[in-house]
Amino acid sequence: MDEHLYELAKQQWLIPFIPLVAAAIQSLLNRRQRKLSAALSIGALSISCVLALRAFAGTLGEHESARAISDFTWFTCGTTRLELGFILDPLTATMAAMVAFVGLMIFINATGYMAEDENFTRFFCFMSLFAAAMLGLVVANNLLFFFICWELVGLCSYLLIGFWYFKPSAAAAMKKAFITTRIGDIGFFIGILMLYWHGGTLNLYDGGHGALEQAGKLATITGWWGMSMAGTIALMLFFGAMGKSAQFPLHVWLPDAMEGPTPVSALIHAATMVAAGVFMVGRMFPLFTAAAGDWVMDFVMWIGCITAVFSATIAVAQWDIKRVLAYSTCSQLGFMVMALGAGGLVAGQFHLLTHAFFKALLFLGSGCVIIGTHHEQDMRKMGGLKKYMPITFWCYLIGMLALAGVPPFAGFFSKDEVLLETYHRSKWAWGLATFAAFLTAFYMTRQMFMVFAGKWRGREAEHGHGTGHGHHHEPHEVPWNMWLPIAVLSVFAIGLGFFGGKYAHYLGGEETGLAEGKGLVMGLSVAVGALGIVLGWVIYGRKTMEHATDPDPLQATIGGLFTVLNRKWYIDEIYEATIIRFTAICGTFFRLVDKAVVDGILHAVAWTFWAISQIVRWVGDEFLINGGFDAGCGGVRGSGRILARLQSGRVQNYFRVLSLGAAVLLLIYFFTS
């Protein structure tokens, strides 16, 4: 192993540690120390970013599949040591660099977005903590450590979704996010337990003894549901990814998570945390490939495919600017998962990277729009922003084109690889995914036209006639600290796609080598992208909406289906009526069991004893013992009362009796002697 790489691996712990220290300090700051808090966050993440880039650079010159680890013992239990550790390999290096860099951009943007919030200090504390946990997750060489960070990013997500906790919707959304992901995490947890049991270690790589290096052995053990143990564990781990990466049917939390501040949505719910599930599958990929004979890979692919299409259909009919992006994120995560399920590690991870950049760009752009329009999120009440916010518009356009898969933007290349991988695995899935790509292009075009084209339909336009503060509501361009990050990100959204081939070589050390069908897949993907954009222009662009109260043009086209899509296929309602109600009934049931049955038996026992004691009391004690005793006492008392009469208290009487007695004794004496 390369000495230099090993030295770098030994310093990997610093990458998450520095933001963690920053978070610890920030947690002790008070509300007024706003600048200090933001500076600490950004400073710490900058250092992490430099370190991550240095590590990334360190891996670049290496020969294929360069990998260095650095483990330490957490504690000893029984006769085994529980180890945690850090890793440096291409997968980690790129991910860490991406997380740190995108995070840094988002932090800078957040200084503008959150500028007026009174809990600014606390916000950056949570953000730092998130960065620490996310980077920790990325550099972990141990599934337990991975899980710890995994839960901590979940915690930060929870805290930040509920950052505006006083809104009931935010309070509900934060809980929903945590619990939904927790359900997936139970699967993950069970997977970890199974891996620990059968693999004997949770270290991913350990010089030939790591869990991933034993994947082949696990594939020979019989597992559950007709799979090998490797397949079973992989499936269990994937449940965790489904929760975290918002895959159907555990996707419901992600759209609600948009209750959080927009930089949070950009960082956590677009670029990094939701991608952690995909990263996890990528990280554990040797296990998935070892289970190639099982149905787990197909399961992963189909879950991804269903999510990609399903979420894209919902995104078509949303009005909230952030919700469209949220469902788009769901859908894109589905693409990544689908690619992984199809066996395309490189495609999945590459799409993760490009998506992180352009989706962060889009979210930050939407944040700029929200700030520019004074906290308006309903796209129907926007329009014509191109005039007011040119920089935001151009950056947003780049992001939109990247997401829609228009060449030569980043999304085109990565999505193309995803589709290609899927094409080779399953034509059906590929067909559906292509349809999802079409929808993607369509809903992004719809969004562009609704937000930026036409004329301003916002508050000022509706009731601003001579109110005096009309221009106050007029949209405006955002300050530099908000647009600069998106400008930087748009550079990546344009250019990153060209590195796809290099990335494949760097990550896998091998070309994907899938040439067959490349023309067909690429051609069709471009065609559906163009079709989506054109259709979007036909419906939304030719004639833009006039008033915010106008019906959605699409509604006129597809009618009732629009309502179904708008209501998200009624998934939340279905869950509400089934699982949630069932759980609540269980709770009430067991509460009643405690109250009625358990306590009932207890009270019955208590009453029985009470009844016995009453019987003993009345029959035994009161009647026999007390009765007898009382009678005896009565006799003594009665005789005493009689005898007491002798004690008249008259001394003379006593004297008389005494004399009488003496006289009697004398007489007896006389007569007997």
């Binding site: 005898l643 004690q647 008249s648 001394v651 004297f655 008389r656």
Partner: protein, 103 residues
């Protein structure tokens, strides 16, 4: 030559009986006290008579008699003091009224 012992004893018995009658039947506490004193003196008379007829050796009976006289004096003093105290309390020296020792 002189009065026989029996006469003294008879006198003493009469005195004792008189005292006893007084102590038992009279209601006035002072008279009861006087009755007791008479019984005392009856006893002393006995002692002196016995001594005189040398029924006891040396001066034993004499000493007894003197002691008894002294004690009788003390006793009557205490008795009178009690009667006065009782009178102060009950405004009466009627022994029938003094029954607070009743059981």
């Amino acid at each position: 030559m002189s009065v026989p012992l029996n006469y003294y004893l008879m006198l003493s018995a009469f005195l004792f009986a008189i005292g006893l009658c007084g102590a038992l039947s009279r209601k006035n506490a002072i008279i009861v006290l006087m009755g007791i004193e008479i019984m005392f003196n009856a006893g002393i008379l006995n002692l002196v008579a016995f001594w005189h007829y040398k029924l006891f050796a040396s001066l034993t009976a004499q000493m007894f008699a003197i002691f008894a006289v002294a004690i009788a004096a003390a006793e009557s003093a205490v008795g009178l003091a009690l009667v006065i105290a009782v009178y102060r309390h009950y405004k009466s020296v009627d022994v029938d009224e003094m029954k607070s020792l009743k059981g």
